[in-house]
């Protein structure tokens, strides 16, 4: 059945007031801003133009990444040893040697915890800053609140006609827009940038179509497009909005800048090698290119971190290339002067159990997890918070998912206390009790 209230909670009648119904995000943002309580919002200077969220779906172990516990008994500390980083006093697991070399570029948070020990709920909490409203199953793909990417798309709008929120190769479980509406859902690029024929769907001409023929078609379209437009804005003719989108679409197709972003083949083979000739490595490189083109939020959704068994062998297999790609991304952004304006976050939905189970794996554990954050003015070479000596629980500077998500928003220049209205008219904060992590600000 037709529903004429969009997910931002405004009817078409309300949007009329803003000029043309359905015209881009800016008007909505203003209206919502007008509705929010002035006293509760503060303007913050935006450090970050973009955010790259590297999501390790499944919940990566904190022991074998950024929070090694060499003093714990063998059944807890596992098979790996800690190694020093280039910052005195900070040790990480030997599985991340390349990241260890650049610890001065990022901060580690070792004390985020929550109580959502299954994937569905943990994902939701970390990805949106809000716990699920009702208990959900472990395999659930749920959304009760807009994700960080969707809020960012809503607040920022798009640039150069590029979608504002990319998710590669797929959307994360709770990466959706919820009440903000489908136009703030992520633009998924599922094709593999490591492939020889890689192209980003829909933003480049279809295979085999020459530019000249496309121009002819474009011209022909203009000739045959005879549907009468209703110029009077009050008439709210939805066709006017489509005209704008076509203009933007044409702009994107012919924009050298935008197309450059997608042309990963133009990178030097050496740099492509450095990022790693695998799909994640090349996606990380593509993410940097999207940042350069002005895309404000890019999620790299990397599954396979749910190591209930055979954790150590799996890490030996996968981690070397993976962590090297992340280290390359951070260094590359830094060398190009982009790190100052780009926030990079690496995390999953929770950490993993202290005791190694009978299958040489670790199970879900939300009392402790580690997060890496770099760029956007974050002082590198610092560790925030700590778990106890055996890594059971965050004990020092205990932080919540709300703290983490608020930090991301604040870095992007949004006030996490801003109030939105759901379609039911219920006021909702971007983040409930939105306090950023002060050490990172």
């Amino acid at each position: 059945m037709a529903m004429h209230v969009n997910c931002a909670g405004m009817s078409r009648r309300d949007s009329l007031k803003l000029g043309l119904g359905g015209m881009l995000g800016a008007g909505f943002v203003d209206l919502l801003r007008g509705r929010s309580l002035a006293s509760e919002t503060e303007a913050a200077p935006a450090k970050a133009k973009s955010c790259i969220l590297i999501w390790l779906d499944g919940g990566p172990t904190h022991y074998e990444t950024f929070d090694p516990k060499p003093e714990a008994p063998a059944e807890i500390r596992g098979e790996f040893k800690p190694i020093p980083t280039n910052v005195a006093g900070i040790d990480v697991c030997e599985s991340v040697p390349e990241l260890a070399r650049i610890a001065d570029k990022y901060a580690l948070i070792r004390s985020v915890c929550h109580e959502q020990g299954n994937h569905g709920a943990g994902n939701h909490y970390m990805m949106t800053g809000a716990p699920t409203r009702v208990p959900v199953g472990c395999g659930a793909f749920v959304s009760f609140h807009p994700s960080m990417g969707s809020f960012t798309a809503h607040e920022r709008g798009h640039k150069n006609g590029l979608p504002a929120y990319f998710s590669m190769p797929s959307m994360t479980r709770s990466g959706g827009p919820n009440f903000l509406g489908a136009q703030y859902a992520p633009f998924e690029v599922d094709s593999d940038p490591n492939g020889a024929n890689f192209k980003v769907r829909d933003v480049q001409l279809p295979r085999g179509l020459e530019t000249a023929r496309f121009s002819d078609r474009k011209e022909l379209r203009q000739q045959v497009d005879s549907l009468k437009r209703f110029a009077d804005k009050a008439a709210g003719d939805p066709v006017q909005a489509l005209d704008q989108y076509y203009a933007q679409g044409y702009g994107l197709v012919s924009s050298i800048e935008a197309q450059k972003a997608f042309n990963i083949h133009s990178e030097s083979p050496q740099l492509r090698d450095k990022y790693g000739r695998n799909s994640f490595g090349q996606r990380a490189l593509l993410a940097r290119r999207l940042v350069e083109a002005g895309v404000p939020f890019i999620t790299l959704n990397e599954g396979g971190w749910d190591h209930h068994g055979d954790l150590f062998n799996a890490f030996r297999q996968r981690m070397p290339a993976f962590e090297a790609s992340i280290a390359t991304l951070i260094s590359d952004l830094d060398q190009r002067g982009l790190l100052e304006s780009t926030l990079v976050c690496v995390l999953g939905e929770f950490g993993r159990t202290p005791k190694i189970n009978k299958d040489a794996g670790r199970d879900h554990w939300s009392s402790a997890m580690s997060i890496l954050m770099a760029g956007a003015g974050i002082r590198g070479g610092q560790v925030i918070g700590a778990t106890d000596r055996q890594g059971y629980a965050a004990v020092e500077r205990v932080l919540s998912p709300e703290h983490f998500v608020s930090t991301v928003y604040r870095k992007l220049g949004f006030d996490p206390n801003k109030i939105y209205y759901t379609p039911e008219g219920r006021p909702t904060h971007m983040v409930s009790s939105g306090t950023p992590i002060s050490e990172l600000m």
Binding site: A2, M3, K17, L37, G176, D216, V239
Partner: protein, 820 residues
């Protein structure tokens, strides 16, 4: 004017108000001055009365209160009046306030009774300030975990809770009876100590003095037995306003002992359509610059009152114009009459081609085929539109399309309930539309479902929604257009529903038995049985009291022992006497066909969200009910009205109309309809996983079946809770997809497609162009368009490539994307 005459005026005003006539003013031809209220009684703490003065002209009488009216007290020792017309007491006694405007005079008698001798009462005298200054609003202390440790009940519906929070929590710092001035309840909103919510009240304001006095008196919960609030009223109840004109509203609280109070300064106001008329926090309505109507709601302590304001288009339309409009059925009567009130003129009737395309999309969820379009256009019968409607209603596409819409509303997440259960549920819905099951029967079958989730599809709602409260929310919203969700956790802020109503309704679902394998995401594959359980209760979440099942209004019959409670509920919901049931569905169908709902959102029918054309909604609902809830009848009724067949192109007297149906409102095609249309036009179908080859998009049994096209075009996502609604907007992602996607490009250029076939055929270029226009726009090209098209087929050009280019161009235009 003599004294006698003046006295006469006052009496006349009083009589008229007693009779309750909204058109008090009709009587006022002579003096033309109407003052509200006609008499005033002031007593209690800080009483006040706002006077309203209206000029001549009935409902269009201008608000003179703040413009030309002059107020003076004739008895300054008893009563005072300020320049804004606010009357306040000086001492007990009787007095007179004189009102003068434009040479006319009226007098208002004032009785000043006991002034503030009684103790202040928490509920009556303090709580209204908490609402007025937003303290207990959802964004502040009213939110679930409060604000900075101080939590109030949302909008102050729980007085005991709030009193405890203020007086007993925080070690007496919020309310300090020993040092009242130090109470945080004062120092925070005054801003003398930092307050996250900023300064809310000013020193020595009425609010400040009242709260201070209440604390000094001991901050008691109940001061004696103050009379209960019975209702609130607002005056005036309707107004015609010209652009930018203002009208002040007066809100009166009526108490059980017959006393009244002017609570205009404490009420909260909101407009249903702020684009047409806004209302300030002080209750001053200001018309916008557009033609239209708005309902202004005044809320005070859980009670509501409404005023309708209409802003007609300037200029006169002769009566004869409206009399000359065609009337196919009652729908037209109601639409022309609302157009008349607003001075709108109807658009021209639409062309045959537009009608066919519109009605085919609306009824069958697809675009007309080339043959259908050709034969309809060639048909010279006067009843060809009716015949087309009947043909479409009888086609299998009707059931696929309308079931697809209901699937939007009911469809579960297969990751939650399991694949087989999702498929059987889908089958049940499809089957109901295939056999045109009367809507009441369909709903009764759903609500009383029993049996296996693998065989009886209708049981799956009870597998998907398991707790009585979940079922309460979805059932009341789907079938009654009543959003009870709010009342689950707190009193509904815009409605009469409280938690007791919610959980009494939930009690109908308390005796649901389930046997078999429950939900075990992510697979949930097994079978479950739903049956009537012998026990099970729902209790109030705060009081713990067991609540017997109770409908939202009216009554249900007594249940026999062991009878399923849902049986009684289903009877009550689908009863011909339940006006919400028929109207909710009528509004849904109307919205789909007409592009804009009589009530919006479509499932939010309540007194405080009135329909734009209430008589039409009532008539549609009754007609639907009287025709045995036959959905096809409802569709027939709407599609045969003259209003449905208006063109979308506006004229100078309706271009601004977006709610009154004086023209047809364009709608982007639904994702499924547009995708099927692309397949039909290109001659190349879509291959979906988990579907037989050749299936159309509207046959999909779950939104989880992958489709970038449908995702881009805003199909709902049953992942989201509540399921994110389908969107009808256009986006740049959609434009890019149709323009550039490999999948659409390959359909256009397929060897098996229409363009290839046309290229190979022996058809002339003109015939090819005609066919493309009929397939894509459902009309023939104009001569100029045909000329452009034919001109592309130059000697030596590749006919197939040219056809592909023209096809691509046409499917990328809005005439293809939109229902015009």
């Amino acid at each position: 004017m003599s004294i006698c005459q003046q006295f006469h005026n006052v009496v006349r005003v009083a009589v008229c108000l007693l009779l309750g006539c909204g058109s008090v003013l009709a009587n006022e031809a002579e003096s033309g001055l109407v003052v509200y209220p006609a008499t005033i009684t002031l007593s209690g703490d800080n009483p006040r009365q706002q006077l309203l003065v209206s000029g001549p002209g009935g409902a269009s009488g201008a608000d003179w209160t703040t413009t030309v009216a002059r107020f003076t007290s004739e008895t300054p020792n008893v009563v005072a009046v300020d320049a804004a017309g606010v009357v306040t007491p000086v001492s007990s006694g009787t007095g007179v306030v004189r009102v003068e405007a434009e040479g006319r005079v009226a007098q208002v008698s004032v009785t000043v009774g006991d002034l503030a001798t009684a103790l202040l009462d928490f509920e009556r005298d303090i709580q209204p300030y908490m609402a007025r200054f937003g303290c207990n609003a959802g964004a502040c202390h009213g939110k679930q975990r409060g604000q900075n440790g101080f939590q109030l009940s949302l909008l102050g519906f729980d007085h005991d809770f709030d009193h405890y929070a203020m007086v007993s929590e925080a070690r007496g710092r919020r309310v300090s009876v020993s040092t009242p001035e130090e109470s945080l309840l004062l120092t925070k909103p005054l801003g003398t100590v930092p307050h996250g919510g900023g300064i809310r009240i000013t020193k020595d304001s009425t609010a400040h003095r009242a709260i201070l006095r209440w604390i000094e008196e001991g901050a008691t919960r109940k001061a004696g037995t103050p009379p209960a609030l019975v209702k609130v009223t607002v005056w005036p109840t309707e107004r015609l306003l010209v652009r930018d004109e203002t009208q002040r509203l007066v809100v009166t609280a009526h108490y059980a002992d017959g006393s009244t109070r002017d609570v205009s300064s404490l009420a909260q106001f909101s407009s249903s359509d702020s684009v047409f008329a806004e209302v300030s926090p002080e209750g001053i309505v200001k018309a916008g610059k557009l033609t239209g109507e708005a309902a202004i709601m005044a809320r005070y302590e859980g009670n509501f009152a409404l005023t309708r304001v209409s802003m007609p288009l300037p200029g006169d339309v002769p009566e004869a114009y409206y009399a000359s409009l065609p009337r196919a059925n009652f729908i037209d009567d109601h639409i022309w009459s609302s157009m008349r009130r607003l001075g709108l003129k109807a658009s021209e009737p639409c062309s045959d081609a537009t009608y066919l395309r519109r009605v085919t999309i609306d009824i069958a969820g697809r675009v007309p085929t080339v043959d259908e379009a050709r034969s309809f256009l060639a048909d010279s019968g006067s009843d060809k539109r009716e015949r087309a409607v009947e043909r479409l209603l009888a086609s299998p596409d009707y059931a696929w399309h309308w079931a697809n819409k209901w699937a939007d509303l009911l469809r579960p997440n297969p990751y939650h309930v399991g694949i087989k259960a999702t498929v059987t549920y889908d089958d049940f819905i499809r089957d109901a539309f295939r056999k045109n099951q009367p809507y009441d029967q369909f709903v009764r079958e759903l609500l009383t479902a029993k049996g296996s989730t693998w065989r009886e599809g209708q049981t799956v709602m009870f597998r998907d929604r398991r707790a009585p409260d979940e079922l309460t929310t979805i059932v009341s919203q789907l079938f009654l257009g009543t959003r009870l969700e709010c009342a689950k956790c707190h009193h509904h802020p815009f409605e009469v529903w409280g938690q007791a109503d919610y959980y009494s309704f939930a009690a109908y679902f308390s005796r649901l038995g389930r046997k078999g394998t429950g939900i075990s995401a992510p697979i949930s594959g097994s079978e479950e049985f739903i049956f009537t359980a012998m026990s099970g209760e729902v209790s109030h979440p705060l009081t713990g009291q067991v609540l017997p099942p109770k409908p939202l209004f009216g009554a249900t019959r007594e249940l026999a022992a062991g009878e399923d409670r849902r049986q009684a509920l289903a009877e009550w919901i689908t009863s011909p006497d339940n006006h919400l049931f028929a109207r909710t569905m009528a509004n849904r169908v109307w919205t789909d066909l007409m592009g804009v709902g009589l009530v919006m959102p479509v499932d939010d029918l309540r007194a405080t969200n009135p329909a734009t054309n209430e008589p039409l909604l009532v008539a549609l609902g009754n007609d639907f009910r009287d025709h045995r809830f036959d959905i096809k009848h409802l569709i027939r009724r709407i599609t045969s009205s003259a209003a449905y067949s208006l063109a979308s192109e506006p004229n100078e007297r309706n271009s601004m109309d977006t709610r009154n149906y004086s023209r047809h409102y364009r709608q982007r095609l639904r994702g499924e309809v547009l995708l099927d249309a692309v397949c039909e036009v290109t001659g190349v179908g879509e291959e979906f996983v988990a579907m037989p080859s050749g299936s159309s998009a509207k046959e999909l049994w779950t939104h989880r079946i992958e489709s970038l096209f449908l995702d881009a075009f805003g199909r709902p996502n049953e992942n989201q809770d509540p399921p994110c609604e389908r969107t009808s907007d256009t986006t740049v992602v959609q434009a890019l997809h149709v323009m550039n996607s490999d999948s659409i490009a390959s359909k256009v250029t397929s060897d098996a497609g229409r363009a290839a076939a046309l290229g190979k055929s022996d058809k002339s270029p003109a015939e090819i162009v005609d066919e493309l226009y009929l397939a894509i726009y459902s009309r023939l090209p104009t001569n100029a368009e045909r000329e452009i098209g034919v001109g592309l087929y130059k000697d030596g050009s590749n006919r197939r490539l040219v056809t592909e280019d023209l096809m691509w161009a046409l499917i990328n235009t809005p005439e293809f994307w939109f229902k015009d």
